[in-house]
Amino acid sequence: MDFISILSIFVLACFVGYYVVWSVTPALHTPLMSVTNAISSVIVVGALIAAAAAGSPGSKWLGLVAVALASVNIFGGFAVTQRMLSMYKKRERKDG
């Protein structure tokens, strides 16, 4: 992929982000932060590439540490978001 196509994806994604985030209800802003935190750990992709590559031991070890750090975030981020979201409950309606 050349630079311009990547840039196009990036710019369009910024607009998608803009509209999607404005539609998030303020009551869920804390879960929004924790889930964005979890997904930004997709940087683990780069870490895995570094850890898997042969050729530079230094690069490999940096990659492994990055994999561990990003994993804390991925698992911790999604789990804590799940925990928070499961607490949001609607009022129980008393019928009759």
């Binding site: 910024c14 303020p26 804390t30 570094a50 850890a51 561990a68 994993s71 928070m84 609607k90």
Partner: protein, 501 residues
């Protein structure tokens, strides 16, 4: 040709990364209402699983062997794969344990800590890419300087565009890391929430930022290690310097801003790796954090620049000493219980003080007893109540308060006039009428909750001496329709519960 060959990712992998990116968009989209949010979160997990599985599949460690007259076989290097899985395992265990144990009141610290990890991961990935550019497919034939017109003159180096992307990624990642560490220490109470103001700090900060940008530009001409690592070092330093002067009350902005940075760091690394999942995610997270910062700034009527410049909450207004001596009405838990049980509608206004005292469960118990007596109970939340966006909503949800009883400022402000009792617990600045009528006040112009319009205003406060984070007095304390309930927020609420029961 080296560049093209290294970038060739199979088409299915590109599609898989795109799908992962779409899953992340849907994960955020789900948060538009609590009902759809859990499904959204699950979609996010699926997206992450797709991204990781795809990466492992196309970057499986090992070597291709092509013996004569047989198809190519791929020998997997199991040791390296095991090492990678162990790294994931360690991270996953730590993450899950933290996620399970963390108290909801400590969410701001946790988010700050998580941001620092994203930042550090970006720095490490950037450094790894710098040390092993072939693995990341970012090498190119670089013509020697001054001789770009002749052929056969080139060396294999890191592509120029990739150097800029990498430099930016590492710089933003390092700023995110060190900034988040300071934010964590301040939120966690290891460091005073008071702003620390260095002399000449604006000059130092702007100078460092300029140096970083100039070095990144120079990096395109010279890929020596000193340039790369100086950019990294300066970026770590600027992260510390930027957050140190920002006070506790501005933490909601800081933490949203760092959220945004962590996204931009991921996006920059995505540019380096030509990875759509990372770019989409980075753009989403980046805009999300930016929008949250904007919402927080607007809720405080402050400009983003003034928050970044720091120092808010240092100047205490001059009227304080006299203010403490002004007469005020003090009430007991029994008085409060009586007033609220006679009311038709009570609005509870929680603030950071409720989080500190862990009083959310007691508050919900009180609300239940009032509802049993036929009182309508609602909650009013100011956007900057607490230490991060939406903090109060989570705490109330934790205490089993139904989310449809909780209202945002714009939705409930007109109701205070028809309300008998406003129960303000641990909030101060967000109720201060000075924001509406005192032009000299530092918080003038900030939208506030009109609690003074309620027939009676009950303020739960530790003592009369203390002021809010803005460092200004609240004249509501001395009004005729205000009753001060002095004491610990949790104990006071529990006493009211006893008196009601």
């Amino acid at each position: 040709m080296v560049e093209a060959a290294a970038h060739a990712q199979p088409a299915w992998a590109l599609l898989a990364y795109l799908i992962a990116g779409i899953c992340f968009i849907l994960a955020l989209r789900g948060l538009s209402s609590p009902e759809s949010s859990r499904r959204g979160n699950a979609t996010g997990m699926i997206g992450m699983a797709i991204a990781i599985a795809t990466t492992l599949a196309i970057h499986l460690p090992g070597t291709s062997v092509t013996p004569i007259a047989t198809p190519t076989t791929f020998l997997v290097n199991w040791t390296v794969l095991a090492e990678m899985l162990v790294a994931v395992g360690i991270g996953a265990t730590a993450g899950l344990v933290i996620a399970r144990r963390i108290a909801m009141t400590a969410m701001p610290q946790l988010v700050a800590a998580f941001h620092s990890l994203v930042g550090m991961a970006a720095v490490l990935v950037g450094a790894a890419a710098y040390l092993n550019p072939e693995a990341f497919g970012i090498t190119a034939q670089i013509p020697y300087f001054h001789s770009s017109l002749t052929s056969g003159c080139c060396f294999t180096g890191i592509a120029r565009v990739s150097r800029v992307e990498m430099g930016l990624g590492v710089a933003i990642g390092a700023i995110t890391f060190s900034g988040s560490v300071i934010a964590f220490l301040k939120l966690n109470g290891n460091m005073s929430g008071k702003p620390i103001l260095l002399p000449l700090r604006h000059v130092i900060n702007l100078g460092t930022l300029a140096a970083i940008l100039i070095l990144i530009a120079y990096f395109t001409q010279d890929q020596s290690p000193w340039v790369f690592f100086t950019v990294m070092g300066l970026s770590f330093a600027i992260g510390f310097l930027l957050i140190i002067p920002i006070g506790g009350a501005d933490m909601p902005v800081v933490i949203s801003m760092l959220n945004s940075y962590s996204g931009w760091a991921a996006a920059a690394m995505g540019f380096t790796l030509h990875n759509t999942a990372m770019i989409i995610t980075g753009a989403l997270v980046g805009s999300s954090g930016a929008i949250l910062s904007y919402i927080m700034c607007r809720a405080m009527n402050r400009s983003f620049i003034s928050v970044i410049a720091g120092g808010f909450g240092v100047v205490t207004s001059s009227g304080d000493a006299a203010a403490v001596d002004r007469p005020y009405k003090r009430g007991s838990a029994e008085d409060a219980a009586f007033l609220m049980s006679q009311a038709e509608q009570v609005i509870i206004v929680p603030g950071y003080g409720m989080a500190v005292a862990q009083a959310q469960h007691a508050v919900r118990e009180m609300a239940d007893l009032l509802k049993a007596k036929g009182v309508t109970v609602k909650y009013a939340i100011h956007p900057v109540a607490g230490r991060m966006p939406g903090h109060m909503n989570v705490l109330l949800a934790e205490a089993n308060v139904p989310y449809d009883e909780v209202f945002e400022l714009e939705d409930i402000n007109s109701e205070f006039a028809q309300t008998d009792v406003a129960y303000v617990i641990g909030a101060n600045d967000v109720t201060n009428p000075a924001a509406k009528n005192d032009k000299s006040s530092p918080i003038y112009g900030m939208p506030v909750l009109d609690v003074e319009k309620a027939r009676t205003c009950l303020f739960v406060k530790r003592s009369m001496g203390g002021v809010g984070y803005a460092g200004i007095d609240n004249e509501l304390f001395y009004r005729d329709n205000t009753m001060m309930l002095l004491g610990d927020a949790k104990k006071m609420t529990e006493e009211i519960v006893k008196a009601l029961g």
